[in-house]
Amino acid sequence: MEMVPLTHYLFLSATLFVIGVVGVLVRRNAIVVFMSIEIMLNAVNISLIAFDRYLNLHDGQIFSFMVMCVAAAEVSVGLAIIISLFRNKPTINLDEFNIMKS
């Protein structure tokens, strides 16, 4: 039973990461942007675990655990922001919010 080579995992993580990035850049809907960020974080987890297993260490896993905490925190705060954004303007289309324009 040969093992799945590491490169495949890295390849998978890379593609997922890229999809996440494209999602963030392209979509105007705040919620979907958040989801793409989640995808990017997961992509990172995959490569962590892959290396972890390859190097026979547990640090990767601890790190991905931390990533998950951060992700959770980030989602909660992000969604709270979206809600408050939604309150002052009835849309969550990111392009509406360009008051910061110089």
């Binding site: 990035v21 963030v24 850049l25 105007r28 990111l94 392009d95 919010f97 360009n98 324009k101 110089s102």
Partner: protein, 656 residues
């Protein structure tokens, strides 16, 4: 011992000037006039005393130097403030202070009803001080102080009636043209210091033969620059246009500055530097020819002018041309002799014309004069005597001095020079008598409500003295009889220049530089014999020329008054000469306008657009750049994310 008083001579006019300058208004007109004339009189007396002192000392050591203090001392350049008295400067001092004194007395009367009486006399005294400084200075820098001081005072005095724009323009023009001359003079002084390491007359002129090679480039450049300086000051061909305009000033000013003293400063300077000029034959020829050319050129213009003072101004320019001609051929004594006699009769002519103008309450145009003979007897007599003198009629001084110049021009110079001289003499006789006939003889076309009157005593008395001097001035240089030429014996030691040893040194220096010495034998043959018959013949010839000129004037202006109009109307030659060959206009077009346009161009284009443009340009570019950068802050979160990603990827690409 008596010579110790030299520093007093310039001091009196200076004190006079300061007193008049500061307290003029308070002490009233008579006091101001008294102080001014008195100070010049005092300096004249001290000059006489010094003259006596100088005559008593034996001929060889008749050079007395008195140094007051070191003015500038930097490195091995030292300029002391000192005076030098030798026969040459003594003659100059004598006639400058003498004529100056008479003119001061005259101007007390002439300027009486002027409001700023004190200002006039303050400037006149300042002028006397600078002129004396120029004459008595013992080095080039002191001469230069006098040189520019004189130019500056002539600027003030020409612009005395400062309400009149023409007077101010004339003053500025005079000062700037003098400045052009001073520019060349300054360069010459620097060149001299560069070669001799000192600017004192004694050291420079003694070292001249050793240091300078005969007819070498350096000596020619120095002497050329000195001559340009002299032209600027003595109004010769290229730089003469300021003198006729200087007639805007009051008449005593024209008499003192533009006839007797300042304009002769150039001749004095060239004569003083004869040691340098003797080594530069090319410059000597240019001096002679420019002198001759100016003599004729100015005489022709003089013939066509109708303003009485303009005629006299052009006659001054032409007479100084004679002096330069004499200097050019090496006859320095003749030049000084003519300068002295010229001071006498020209001052008398100017003062005479002043009293005519004074009598006619400011009328200067000859066409509105005539038959003043009866109204102004004294002025007429003195004027007539001086005109005879300037024309060169036998017993009077003009005859002797002019004849001597013509003689030397023929003997030492060449035939063309002599020809110029003779035609000049003819023209001088003609226009001088034209002036006399138009003003004093003929029918009186003075406009009726002006009734001419004789000038007061204080004005006519100097006229009489000057006329006397003009009459007996010839005694200074009686030709033919050996030893009778007082001036020659008096000035001879100053002009002694040992040409053979100078040529030896030059040949020696040339050998050192490896160049071969050209043959200078033609210079070494002895002085031509002074055969008497040639001189007498010349005298008779010039006398007849003068008489011919007078007769011509008599025909044109007394016998057939309409003849001149007949001959001249329509002729383009006449019109050309009438408006002074358009020299002024040419200068305007070629020099004044282009500089003004050029500097406007410089200012607008180079400064405003060029450099400022560049500076403001960079400012605008920076502004534009920062504007572009502003667009990056588009406010869309997405763009920021994109920049982050792009940045990150760029890093990635760079590092991997």
């Amino acid at each position: 011992m008596l010579l110790k008083l030299t520093s007093l001579v310039p001091l009196y006019p200076l004190i006079g000037c300061i007193i008049n300058g500061f307290f003029g208004l308070r002490i009233g007109k008579n006091a101001v006039g008294l102080i001014a004339a008195g100070s010049v009189g005092l300096s004249f007396l001290t000059t006489l005393i010094i003259f006596i002192g100088l005559v008593m000392t034996p001929a060889e050591e008749r050079v007395f130097e008195q140094v007051l203090f070191t003015w500038m001392a930097v490195g091995d350049f030292t300029a002391e403030f000192g005076f030098q008295v030798d026969p040459l400067s003594m003659t100059m001092m004598l006639f400058v202070t003498g004529v100056g004194f008479l003119i001061h007395v005259y101007s007390i009367g002439y300027m009486h009803e002027e409001y700023s009486f004190y200002r006039f006399f303050a400037y006149m005294n300042l002028f006397m001080f600078s002129m004396l400084l120029l004459i008595m200075g013992n080095n080039f820098l002191i001469m230069f102080i006098g040189w520019e001081g004189v130019g500056c005072c002539s600027y003030f005095l020409i612009g005395y009636y400062f309400e009149k724009k023409s007077a101010c323009d004339a003053g500025t023009k005079a000062f700037v043209m003098n400045r052009v001359g001073d520019f060349a003079f300054l360069l010459a002084v620097m060149y001299i210091f560069n070669i001799f390491g000192s600017i004192d007359f004694t050291t420079v002129f003694h070292a001249a033969p050793e240091k300078l090679i005969y007819d070498s480039e350096t000596v020619t450049i120095i002497t050329m620059l000195l001559f340009v300086g002299a032209c600027g000051k003595s109004a010769q061909i290229p730089l003469y246009t300021w003198l006729p305009d200087a007639m805007e000033g009051p008449t005593p000013v024209s008499a003192l500055i533009h006839a007797a003293t300042m304009v002769t400063a150039g001749v004095y300077m060239v004569v003083r530097c004869n040691a340098l000029f003797a080594l530069a034959p090319i410059t000597m020829w240019t001096v002679a020819f420019i002198g001759g050319a100016t003599a004729i050129f100015a005489a022709t213009i003089g013939m066509t002018q109708f303003d009485i003072k303009r005629v006299l101004a052009y006659s001054t320019v032409s007479q100084i041309g004679y002096m330069f001609m004499a200097v050019g051929v090496g006859a320095y004594t003749a030049a000084i002799f003519h300068m002295v006699t010229h001071a006498f009769f020209k001052a008398c002519l100017f003062l005479g014309s002043g009293s005519v103008i004074h009598g006619l309450h400011g009328e200067q145009d000859m066409r509105k004069m005539g038959a003043l003979k009866s109204h102004m007897p004294i002025t007429f007599v003195t004027f007539f005597v001086s005109t005879l003198a300037i024309a060169g009629i036998f017993p009077l001084s003009g005859f002797f001095s002019k004849d001597e110049i013509l003689y030397h021009a023929l003997m030492d110079g060449n035939f063309i020079l002599w020809g110029m001289g003779i035609t000049g003499a003819l023209l001088t006789a003609f226009y001088m008598f034209r002036l006399v006939f138009m003003t004093f003889f003929g029918k009186s076309n003075v406009d009726p409500q002006v009734h001419p009157h004789e000038s007061p005593k204080i004005m006519t008395m100097p006229l009489v003295i000057l006329a006397g001097l003009a009459f007996f001035g010839g005694a200074l240089g009686i030709p033919l009889f050996h030893g009778w030429h007082i001036l020659h014996n008096w000035l001879e030691p100053v002009f002694y220049f040992d040409m053979p040893s100078a040529l030896e040194h030059s040949a020696h220096l040339l050998h050192e530089q490896g160049k071969h010495a050209p043959s200078w034998s033609h210079l070494l043959q002895p002085e031509g014999d002074h055969n008497v018959w040639v001189e007498i013949a010349l005298m008779l010839l010039s006398l007849s020329i003068a008489v011919a000129g007078i007769f011509g004037a008599y025909i044109c202006y007394i016998k057939k008054p309409h003849l001149p109009d007949l001959l001249t109307e329509g002729q383009w030659g006449y019109d050309l000469v009438k408006n002074k060959y358009e020299v002024d206009e040419i200068y305007d077009e070629t020099i004044v306008k282009p500089t003004l346009e050029g500097s406007k161009l410089l200012w607008k284009e180079c400064d405003a657009k060029g450099i400022d443009g560049a500076v403001n340009g960079t400012a605008q570019i920076l502004g534009w750049l920062s504007n572009q950068a502003r667009n990056f802050q588009s406010g869309f979160v997405r763009n920021y994310a994109l920049f982050m990603v792009v940045g990150f990827i760029g890093l990635l690409i760079v590092t991997l």
